[in-house]
Symmetry: C2
Subunit: 325 residues, 2 copies
């Protein structure tokens, strides 16, 4: 029997993770006995759960909240809660409070339980921990020089995760997610939103804004692949990961032009015509500092697998979201 | 006219920095008009100062202290205050409180002044931000994977320094100091203390303990070189440093055997006989995770210069500390 806590369970990836947990029913070779789902808004309970599910709305960065959340000693903690890149850049205080202080309070709450408690903590970091200039591709041992406050906060969380794991207070795995494409539903505040928007909106018969040039290359993964990374991160043996508990996840390197070609192939030229080019220097500036392509041999050696191609990413979106073309 | 705040002014490097500031009398092309010297114990006022000097004992990590320290808007802040590696490893809470929270409070206090205030902040980081396995030499763009809590705290401070500098709240320069050898005076709690001890104690006619093997290679700089790095860090143009405001300082790569050979050359075989080998597995373990040798082209291109050799390091010690051989 294993109990699970998911922070950020109402977010897009969080909801898909919870659905997968319920569908699978077990983790680390044990039946899932208890699911606690937390977010700033109360998460929807998943359909078809056979174990008890508790949902809770709270700001986990508030004093005392993290202690309450881990008091029942969950065996696995998925920490997906974060302020996204765009908002962390515009609201300096909120970004540091949630992304840095919140993560630290969570980790410290785990540590303070003591008594041999050492849960697997799966922490979602981001490729935003990297900043230009880059080699191409970026190797696993490249330094973290974030060019956003979001990337800085995620990188600091990675450092804490490794140190607390090294000291035996928890058994952490930090994964740097590629940009998640195609995000279903409404656009969020992330500056990377257009990578999804130029596929999602045209497939839904709506106009999409493209703020950058067609040759922008980016590192992407489908929501389904991201959930796969999270599940695999709960399963792997921490000992085999080494002292650096954080690593870049595999992805698909695709340009905006690749995206448009795929949209044309799957949806036809009429859909492509729904993309409206509105160059935005602020977004161009942010994107120019982002990494493009990685060499992810650490993740590969630990068994993480990416989407097969950008076309596969779009077909996964159509399948998982029941989009009619 | 320029005003200066030194945190950690009672430490060995801090005292030498203050002496150099008083001796030089100017910084960044301006006369030094005011010196504020702070440490957990009240720093000694320097001899020969021609400007007002204020000395203060305080724990800068306590709430409200950092705000008071920067309220007068010093033009240059040297932040040398830290819990050393050995103590940060044995006292988890104290290490995070001083090295991480203290640094953050200082940087935040600077930010909160606002009103265009953007001082040069010189932050002493450490090569302990790096952890094995390493390439040899370690390049400037190698990732930070500290294997101690001290290294983790220093690396997190580096991240903050870069982010606050990028956002225009301060003009930070973070320098990763090599291990400082030969430290004068008493041994401190750093696990690296023996690198100095096996020179200092025999030159003073006393026995020294050597806990590691003779082939251990390490990256070192004299206190005089370290003060030179700090002074140069106050002078350089932040724009030329780029978005990553932290870099590894040049040093001398020497083995314990190199150290002993130099001791023999300068002090004779009788001095070498004062080194007593007492293998210590705990120290060996810590040292095995430390970096050995760097390729420091970023620092070189910005004009930082190292000691000429390990022999030069020892001769600097003899000269600066008036040691009679």
């Amino acid at each position: 029997m294993t109990s699970i806590l998911v922070l950020g369970a109402a977010g897009m990836v969080g909801r898909k993770l919870v659905d997968r947990l319920v569908e699978t029913g077990h983790l680390r070779g044990k039946e899932i006995s208890y699911l606690t789902l937390v977010d700033i808004v109360e998460p929807q309970p998943p359909k078809g759960a056979t174990c008890p599910v508790v949902t809770k709305a709270c700001d986990f960065s508030n004093e005392g909240e993290a202690e309450q959340l881990v008091a029942s000693k969950p065996d696995v903690i998925f920490h997906l809660a974060a302020i996204v890149s765009g908002e962390a850049e515009t609201d300096y205080d909120k970004g540091y409070r949630i992304n840095l202080d919140g993560s630290r309070r969570l980790f410290e709450a785990v540590r303070m339980i003591g008594d041999g408690y050492c849960p697997r903590v799966v922490y979602t970091s981001s490729i935003a921990v990297f900043g230009a200039p880059f080699p191409d591709p970026i190797p696993d041992d490249f330094n973290l020089t974030p060019l956003t406050s979001y990337g800085t906060q995620k990188a600091m969380g990675e450092m804490l995760l490794s140190d607390l794991s090294r000291r035996g207070f928890m058994d952490g795995i930090g994964i740097r997610l590629p940009t998640i494409v195609v995000r279903p539903g409404k656009a969020n505040l992330a500056a990377s939103g257009f990578f999804s928007g130029i596929i999602r909106e045209p497939l839904n018969g709506q106009e999409a804004i493209l703020p950058v040039d067609d040759d922008v290359l980016h590192w992407m993964a489908s929501p389904r692949a991201a959930v796969g990374f999270l599940m695999h991160s709960a399963e792997i043996d921490g000992e085999t990961v080494g002292a650096n508990r954080n690593m870049t996840m595999p992805g698909v390197a695709a340009t905006v032009a690749d995206e448009i070609d795929t949209l044309r192939k799957i949806g036809g030229e009429a859909r492509v015509k729904l993309i409206r080019r509105v160059p935005n220097d602020a977004i161009k500036q942010i994107v120019s500092g982002w990494p493009r392509r990685f060499e992810t041999s650490r993740a590969a050696s630990l068994g993480y697998t990416a989407d097969a191609s950008f076309e596969a990413i779009v077909r996964t979106y159509i399948e998982d979201e029941n989009i009619s073309i």
